[in-house]
């Protein structure tokens, strides 16, 4: 005989918890949607041609974000250029030459920690190895700080993607007499190319919104500057400065800048995702 009371209680309990789960899901997603919606509303209001053609203005004057956007592009580009080669090579060692070595295990562990290490600490690190010895804040110091953030992301994806390459392909190449580095270049890299590029895109997405490591490396600059040995403006730092200011023009520009960064980051992430799903087919 079925204990009806118990059965009812279990069903009720199930319904309650499932409702709670649904409620938390809705609750959580609503906040995230709200943030994006407000960002769109506030950001689009300030979006016009001047944003892309004029320099950051002095307080309560009109202007744009041109120098900040250019600075961000330069810093991100340099960061990727510096960080990627090292990271791809390190990932290659971990997946190919040292797949079973102790060094690989240690590096993988440390790399995973660096992946979520506080970025402001990286800023402090670069400050003491570059800014202090060189005597001034500089764009190149900011780029190095970003490069250090690029490394763990790309190391991780490079290793993962090379590990996915079937061993038979390596063996086939080796059987033809190719030495290992030829196998890696013509078989490993070729097969893992899309995955590695995806990793680089994700790394760009990650660093293009980073503020904390730039605060005391690249600093900021109110004017147009492409000299990488001088302080360099960047979009996130300008947003930080403008948003906390009491001037309405600056605050509006901060919102617009925030929208630009978000759109850029989301585009990059979607692009990376599309690449991966294309590869899967």
């Amino acid at each position: 005989m079925i204990d009806n009371a118990l059965y009812r209680r279990r069903k009720l309990r199930n319904r309650f918890h499932m409702m709670m789960s649904l409620a938390t899901a809705v609750f959580g997603l609503v906040w995230l949607v709200l943030i994006l919606a407000m960002l769109l509303v506030k950001g689009i209001g300030g979006l016009n041609l001047a944003v892309f053609t004029q320099m950051t203005p002095p307080p309560s004057a009109s202007g744009g974000l041109l120098n900040a956007i250019a600075g961000s592009l330069i810093l991100t580009f340099l960061g990727v250029i510096i960080g990627t080669p090292v990271a791809v090579l390190a990932g290659t060692y971990m997946a190919e030459y040292g797949r079973y070595s102790k060094l690989t295990n240690v590096v993988r562990f440390i790399n995973d920690i660096l992946l979520s290490a506080p970025s402001i600490v990286i800023g402090l690190f670069v400050y003491s190895i570059m800014v202090r010895p060189m005597g001034n804040f500089s764009g190149i110091a900011g780029a190095v700080a970003l490069a250090i953030l690029v490394v763990p992301v790309v190391v991780r994806t490079t290793e993962d993607m090379l590990l996915l390459v079937p061993n038979q392909m390596r063996e086939a190449a080796a059987a033809l007499g190719a030495p290992r580095w030829t196998v890696i270049r013509y078989v490993g890299y070729r097969a893992a190319k899309t995955g590695i590029i995806t990793g680089i895109l994700l790394a760009i997405a990650r660093i293009s919104g980073e503020t904390a490591p730039l605060l005391f490396t690249a600093l900021n600059n109110q004017f147009w500057s492409t000299n990488i040995f001088a302080p360099m403006p960047s979009l996130p730092v300008v947003i930080f400065q403008f948003a906390l200011s009491p001037y309405e023009d600056w605050q509006r520009l901060a919102w617009t800048g925030a929208l630009l960064i978000t759109v850029a980051v989301l585009t990059l992430s979607v692009l990376a995702r599309v690449l991966v799903s294309k590869e899967a087919k």
Partner: protein, 352 residues
């Protein structure tokens, strides 16, 4: 090598051509006489290249370790003046006075832990709820879009959350939520002191809530991934015995994934502890410890972000670096535990 070349050449060339004459290259023959067998030569070059490449990649891998040691070394070196000057009492001194050059780390440490605690209290249940929703409840056609949306949101830079918190969320809390909290929760004996004081909008609670919203997608996507490692057979046999969905979640999924969930939560905690920009906007930057969570405070990362460039005295800079060292040590321990837990889960998933 030469025979291969000839064989290939025959196929490409019209019949009747004399191939021996055509492939003979006097210059090449002279060169090979001088340096020995060309095959061995190119082999040597390839082996040398391989050695060089191996060394290069190994050096790059070691470089990743060097980054970590470099960070630790420079942080220790930079914070030595402060640590020598104040001694271990640096950690439990609340005072932070740049004018008198007296610095203590207690207020930022307290703020860091308090905001992360609030964030975890809110984000863990909600994140788990989302993960349960996605794996057990969600209609299949919605599963992928919602999952992707959450993963995309996890990548949004923290400064976006910060600016939203400052202009939208803090005023909202100040006007509607905090007065309500002060009137109701503030009068509850035992916990009333947590909600005392005027509603500023910005403060420890606001920072903790922003942090919660920020790590929420992170927790949700990682626990969802962990939940998906449960073998369907286990869940199906429970359903076969007549278990309800909740019973399957509570008695099968959660026990099976316990280690992974804890690992994921600690990973999120590591992020929360080190988060800078989202908090710097809304915490109020006051170097003091208030009992009430509605009052402004500061965190380690917010202090560094706000003061480092403006710090002139060596002791001030050094104290901020010492704060960075403390933060790095705390997050390192938390993240290391998280990774070890997650790694042990992977090992088991591979074994099953």
């Amino acid at each position: 090598m030469n025979e291969n070349k000839n064989a290939a050449d025959t196929r490409l060339r019209p019949r009747g051509t004399d191939m021996v004459e055509l492939t003979f290259d006097p210059a090449e023959a002279r060169a090979s006489e001088k340096t020995g067998d060309p095959r061995r030569n190119s082999q040597k070059r390839l082996i040398l290249g391989d050695k060089f490449f191996k060394l290069l990649t190994g050096a790059a891998a070691a470089f990743v370790l060097m980054i970590l040691f470099g960070v630790i070394f420079t942080l220790i070196e930079g914070s030595l003046p402060a640590l020598l000057h104040f001694g271990p009492s640096f950690i439990w001194t609340e005072e932070w006075n740049p004018v008198k050059e007296r610095f203590g780390a207690l207020a930022p440490i307290y703020g860091t832990i308090m905001t992360s605690l609030i964030a975890m209290l809110v984000a863990v249940p909600v994140g788990l709820g989302i993960a349960i929703f996605l794996t057990e409840l969600c209609p299949p056609f919605l599963r992928r879009p919602i999952g992707i949306a959450i993963e995309l949101l996890a990548g949004i830079p923290s400064i976006i959350y910060g600016i939203w918190g400052l202009f939208i969320f803090a005023p909202f809390l100040q006007r509607y939520v905090q007065p309500l909290m002060i009137d109701t929760l503030g009068n509850v004996p035992g916990i009333g002191w947590l909600f005392a004081g005027p509603p500023y909008g910005i403060g420890v609670l606001t920072a903790g809530l922003i942090l919660a919203i920020m790590v929420l997608p992170f927790i949700a996507s990682i626990t969802r991934d962990v939940f998906e490692t449960v073998p369907p057979v286990l869940k199906e046999s429970a359903y076969g015995l007549g278990a309800t969905t909740w019973e399957v979640v509570w008695k099968i999924v959660l026990p099976y994934t316990r280690v992974g969930v804890i690992g994921g939560v600690m990973l999120a905690l590591g992020r929360a502890l080190g988060e800078t920009m989202a908090i710097t906007f809304v915490i109020g930057n006051a170097h003091r410890i208030s009992a009430s969570v509605l009052q402004p405070g500061t965190t380690i990362s917010a202090s560094i972000a706000n003061e480092f460039v403006e710090a002139l005295a060596e002791l001030h800079t050094s104290s901020l670096t010492a704060l960075g060292l403390i933060l790095f040590v705390i997050t390192f321990i938390v993240l290391a535990c998280a990774r070890l837990l997650l790694a042990s889960l992977n090992k088991r998933a591979g074994g099953v």
